[in-house]
């Protein structure tokens, strides 16, 4: 498996920090998914070998934790919180409008791989709902009228014309 050199460096730096090698499996899965966009069978075997584990020990984590994916996520990962605090202030309406604006049903990845649009369970920002997490950027108090703006930002990110909120 071909990983970027910075991913390999990060992996080699990370493993010796832990008193027991196996503890590094979650961070390695994060790094490999960050590098490849998903966790392939090859990725599972590579991590297992690196940490002296059986592949099943890695595979059973990939199938358990919702964040790890065996299919490629879209270039931009959009998560709309659907849990009660956000729902009480209109999260489902926001989600529907966003799906419409992006022309992509919820819980699917756009066929061209541009983005994945999903419901998320509580994002722990209940006081400023509805919230939408676009990659690492959190959009708060998103009303239906804000949806087009968020959709435009997502599309601009897909086209590489917008940096993350922090650096913009």
């Amino acid at each position: 498996m071909k990983l970027k050199s910075e991913t390999c460096e990060a992996i080699d730096k990370l493993i010796p920090q832990y008193p027991v090698k196996r503890s590094a499996v979650l961070p390695l899965l994060h790094l490999v998914q960050g590098d490849q966009g998903y966790i392939s069978s090859e990725g599972i075997e590579w991590i297992a070998e690196k940490l002296e584990l059986a592949p099943i020990n890695v595979y059973e984590l990939v199938t358990f934790y919702p964040y790890f994916r065996q299919e490629k996520l879209g270039k931009v990962h959009v998560r709309v919180c659907r849990t009660l605090s956000c729902a009480l202030v209109g999260a489902y309406d926001v989600a529907d409008r966003l799906a419409e604006a992006l022309d992509c049903p919820l819980n699917t990845t756009k066929a061209n791989g541009d983005f994945t649009l999903e419901y998320a369970e509580c994002l722990a920002s209940c006081g400023s709902g509805p919230v939408v997490l676009v990659d690492e950027d959190l959009y708060e108090k998103v009303c239906e009228k804000d949806v087009d703006g968020v959709a435009d930002t997502i599309l601009a990110k897909v086209n590489g014309s917008v940096e993350n909120k922090e650096t913009a």
Binding site: Q17, Y18, P19, V20, R22, S23, A24, V25, L26, P27, L29, H30, L51, L53, N57, E60, L61, F64, Y65, P66, Y67, F68, R79, R82, T83, L84, S85, A87, L88, V89, G90, A91, Y92, D93, Y119, A120, E121, C122, L123, A124, S125, C126, G127, S128, G129, L133, E136, E166
Partner: protein, 449 residues
């Protein structure tokens, strides 16, 4: 006198000049408590924390000093400290604020706690959905290490401890401390069978381990700074310290409120500016999604532990561990959701049930199956397919989950179903006679269709 906040933990977070940089933290008196602590003996710090009466802010309210006392110090094994930053209980968002706005306060609290318990290594287990938070913490730890507040030979004391930031991957169950430990060991996060009851005797890598919540660890800084006895005087007896309440739902000003002694009425009507115009309070979920709902027009009667009789309206309930417990619910992780009269209660239950069905780890059959069944039934009830027998069916399933599982997650199935139906039965029964409109009967749709 109108109710006021008393900000200790959140003192600086809303100051626009306040940043996450070490320099800023030092300018505001940061790491003075750590220096003070390093001049004390570890057992002296432990007795200050015990004297403070500090109760864990993660959910169960277990006394921190006692948790620390349970640590097996004679095993000869290394002792670990874990900060539980897996904040995932619906309604709770206080740890997010501390991590993103005042990371050094958490690091300082951790290093004092690590020194007090002779820990060799500390971890922050942070949920995946806080990617920026994880980076802020990593940067802050690196800065603190450079200045000798973290790492080898802290402040010339000869004591050293490092912190590793460990990211989760989207599983609510990792907030349960033994599941968190399994996750940190690189396994599926299945909660461990008890006994042993406390990781303090058998925790990470089968070594004594302390697991404390973010807010709990921040409090340790202030206990050292002001002394355990002075800290114990804040708040009501047995509920010492301030508490950060997370207000969400239908109030005018949702957000974080750090308070000492206020009631539910003062919180909603004064601090949060009341309900939205023209709306009435219908119900409060006081301590996060798991906790039992309180109905606005019920009376809460009984006897307090000290023998005093009480007869409260919802507004009179004191917002602390014992007050909310006396009213029949729990303050949990202080995630307080306020529901007004536009809320469809069966849909609210269906929403909560969907959360716990998604998050059940699947280890125990009653929870794995029960969480899905109650989700499916409430979902069907709210989608035009309610049957007369559904209410009793829900109660019969929910009653078989809590207390029959390895971890307390089972109560997250039982308590919402039993309390929402117990207090709003007529709304559930009415579902069988109603043809629902597209949005249910509430202002907003609360479930997936």
């Amino acid at each position: 006198m109108p109710a006021e906040e008393r900000r200790i933990i959140l003192k600086h977070v809303d100051d626009p000049e306040y940043t996450v940089d070490l320099d800023c933290y030092l300018r505001h008196g940061g790491y003075a408590a750590l220096k003070q602590a390093l001049a004390m003996k570890p057992e002296e710090i432990r007795s200050e924390v015990e004297a403070s009466g500090l109760r864990g802010r993660g959910g169960a309210g277990f006394p921190c000093g006692m948790k620390w006392k349970f640590v097996d110090r004679r095993s000869g094994k290394p002792i670990y400290l874990i900060c539980n930053a897996d904040e995932s209980e619906p309604g709770s968002f206080k740890d997010r604020k501390i991590i993103h706005s005042d990371p050094h306060q958490l690091i300082e609290g951790m290093m004092i706690s690590a020194y007090a318990n002779d820990c060799v290594l500390a971890f922050i287990y942070i949920r995946e959905e806080f990617p920026k938070g994880a980076r802020i913490l990593e940067k802050a730890i690196a800065e603190a290490r450079e200045q000798g507040f973290v790492g080898d030979d802290m402040g010339g004391s000869g004591y050293g401890c490092n912190i590793i930031v460990h990211r989760g991957a989207g599983a609510y169950i990792c907030g349960e401390e033994t599941a968190l430990i399994e996750s940190l060991e690189g396994k599926r996060p299945y909660p461990r069978i008890k006994p042993p009851f406390y990781p303090a005797t058998l925790g990470l890598y089968h070594c004594p381990t302390i697991v404390n919540n973010v807010e709990t660890l921040c409090n340790v800084c202030h206990i050292v700074a002001m002394g355990g006895e002075a800290y114990a005087k804040i708040g009501r007896p047995n509920n010492s310290g301030t508490r950060i309440w997370c207000l969400s739902g239908h109030v005018q000003r949702p957000g974080l409120y750090e308070v000492e002694k206020v009631t539910i009425g003062e919180m909603i009507n004064e601090l949060c500016g009341g309900m939205r115009p023209g709306r009435q309070l219908k119900a409060v979920i006081p301590g996060g999604g798991t906790m039992k709902i309180l109905r606005a027009d019920e009376r809460f009667q009984g006897k307090l532990p000290d023998g005093t009789e009480f007869d409260w309206a919802i507004d009179d309930i004191p917002l602390d561990f014992d007050g909310v417990a006396a009213a029949g619910s729990q303050s949990g992780s202080a995630g307080m959701m306020v529901l007004d009269d536009t809320t469809d209660i069966p849909e609210a239950l269906a929403n909560i049930n969907a959360f716990y069905a998604h998050e059940s780890c699947g280890q125990c059959t009653p929870c794995r199956e029960g969480s899905l069944w109650v989700k499916q039934i409430t979902q069907r009830m709210c989608s035009g397919g309610a049957r007369k027998e559904d209410v009793d069916l829900l109660l019969s399933i929910a009653g078989e989950v809590g207390g029959r599982t390895i971890c307390p997650f089972g109560f997250s199935i039982t308590w919402p179903v039993e309390s929402y139906i117990g207090k709003f039965r007529e709304e559930f029964e009415a579902k069988a006679d109603q043809a629902e409109n597209e949005n249910g009967n509430g202002e907003h749709r609360l479930i997936e269709r």
